[in-house]
Amino acid sequence: MNQRRKLKVVALVCERSVDFKDKLDNAHYMSECPDVNVIQLPCSGQIQPAMIEAALKGGADGIITTGCRIGDCHYREGNKFLRARILGERQPKLRASVDRKRLQAYWLSALEYHRFKEMAGEFVEFLSGYQPETPQKPEKKAPSKAAE
């Protein structure tokens, strides 16, 4: 397992959801899951679908988006809007051509760092053996975790 290459997983995380205090190194990589680079934003509602697309285009193996528990957004609706955008139900929509298997969305409170670590670890494990189908066809959407 130690043989595998280091993956590039970008996590776009709401600063009010999972608490990464003392969990990141200077370059924002998680010390307990070094494949994951965490970028914190004021709210998950600020995440533009273009950011997810840009990261995948730029060579990321996977993307994680994380907001607060659905129902508990500090700004009322940010996490619901992001979920709807990923599911293609709200403008601007995430493109249908984006490989949904390389994208996961978690909804976690500030107390649930361990849950994040667990799920991110499983995701990295999955991505390390994942070969995207080529050519990608947008006709079939893979189930996204966003539906949780």
Binding site: K8, I39, L41, P49, A50, A54, A55, E77, G78
Partner: protein
């Protein structure tokens, strides 16, 4: 307010926030995220308001607001009308439930830091609403007009009379004259209908700055609350006390602490002055709470990049605080409208940024450019 005090206060609130999140985690594992009652803390009191309105209509239909007729009409409702006692109990316990859930709403909003700056209007109207709810409940207890209500009336009159200067005028405003007469009961009825009616206006004000207020909880939660109310009605049926006697009122009252805070204190030997300090001090302290912390984003608000804005109005629809308005534009672009931000309402949350597909709106504390840059750095593809 010194820096140190502010920090201590912020630290305490942060601990209470962790406690709230901890309780919510437990509730999420029992109710699931979708039906977590804490996520509908603002909507649940509205359910009680509906119960109060409907049960109150039935009580109002049979109530006789006269000195001689009030008690017999209550007795008739309780003993003769089928399930009349149930409706009285529903009315009583829904009032208690409403205050309990309003206080839950209050504490959650306070502890999760959702009560200041751009939320100041809901906070102030919320404090007024709590006061109004309190007065509505208190006048309800007086309206029963059994021997305890007479005691409550005398207690309230004495309590008002303890204010130097204007006390006696306030007391005669309450009971409609210098002594208890028929007018007292009509006055009580007016207060008990008029004060709750003002809540409709106040609730509109409470929701004014919120684009999509959650005013109804899911049906399943409402049914659970209604079940709880019915259980309370079955376990502790609401009866009626002894007939009123103006000369010899009941020696003691059964204190509902949610609606009779000063009365309870007076009954336990506190001085009227202390009771007034507590009664007035609580709402004043509530109103002052938002000013204990310094502002987070002084002078910052979302900035529209005029040359990029296409007037598509996605940010306008997404803004949760109605801080964005679409205005006509007449500069040299082919677009007819432009988004304009109201600085006083903006929360700096960035929801408008997430809604924008044209890089036309930015919040100063986390520029879109910076997010893309950080993504590039994370992927090791940044041009340095």
């Amino acid at each position: 307010m010194s820096q140190a005090t502010t920090n201590v206060y912020a630290g305490i609130i942060a601990q209470f926030q962790r406690l709230t999140l901890f309780i919510e985690r437990i509730l999420n594992s029992t109710f699931s995220q979708k039906y977590n009652p804490f996520y509908y803390h603002g909507a649940l009191p509205n359910f009680f308001l509906w119960v109060l309105f409907i049960s109150g209509l039935l009580l109002f239909a049979y109530y006789n607001p006269t000195l001689e007729g009030a008690y017999p009409s209550l007795e008739y409702m309780t003993k003769q009308i089928p399930s009349g006692a149930l409706f009285r109990a529903l009315h009583r316990y829904a009032a208690d439930g409403m205050m309990i859930f309003v206080l839950l709403h209050f504490f959650r909003v306070w502890f999760t830091d959702r009560y200041r700056e751009y939320r100041i209007l809901p906070w102030i109207t919320g404090v007024i609403l709590i006061t109004v709810l309190y007065l509505a409940g208190l006048t309800g207890y007086m309206l029963i007009w059994d021997s305890e209500s007479v005691a409550l009336t005398y207690m309230t009159v004495n309590f008002l009379n303890s204010i130097p200067g204007i006390g006696s005028s306030l007391a005669s405003l309450l009971i409609g004259g210098d002594i208890v007469t028929d007018y007292t009961l009509t006055r009580y009825l007016f207060l008990h209908l008029g004060i709750p009616a003002s809540m409709l206006f106040l609730l509109w004000w409470h929701y004014l700055r919120i684009t999509r207020p959650v005013t109804n909880a899911p049906l399943v939660l409402n049914l659970m609350l209604f079940g709880g109310l019915l259980v309370a009605c079955g376990l502790w049926p609401v009866g009626i006390g002894e007939a009123p006697n103006l000369a010899t009122p009941s020696a003691s009252i059964e204190v509902d602490w949610l609606y009779m805070l000063p009365h309870g204190m007076l009954a336990n030997g506190a001085s009227p002055f202390l009771a007034w300090v507590v009664l007035l001090g609580i709402p004043v302290a509530m109103l002052l709470l938002p000013y204990l912390q310094k502002k987070q984003f002084r002078g910052q608000f979302a900035q529209v990049v005029n040359e990029n804005c296409t007037g598509c109005s996605l940010c306008y629809h997404d803004c949760p605080y109605e801080a964005i308005e679409m205005m006509d534009r007449d500069d040299d672009t082919r677009f007819k409208r432009i988004a304009v931000v109201d600085p006083g309402r903006c929360a700096n949350c960035g929801l408008c940024v997430g809604a924008c597909a044209f890089k036309a709106i930015e919040i100063p504390r986390m520029n879109t450019e910076r997010v893309f840059k950080e993504i590039q750095v994370a992927l090791g593809s940044a041009q340095s």
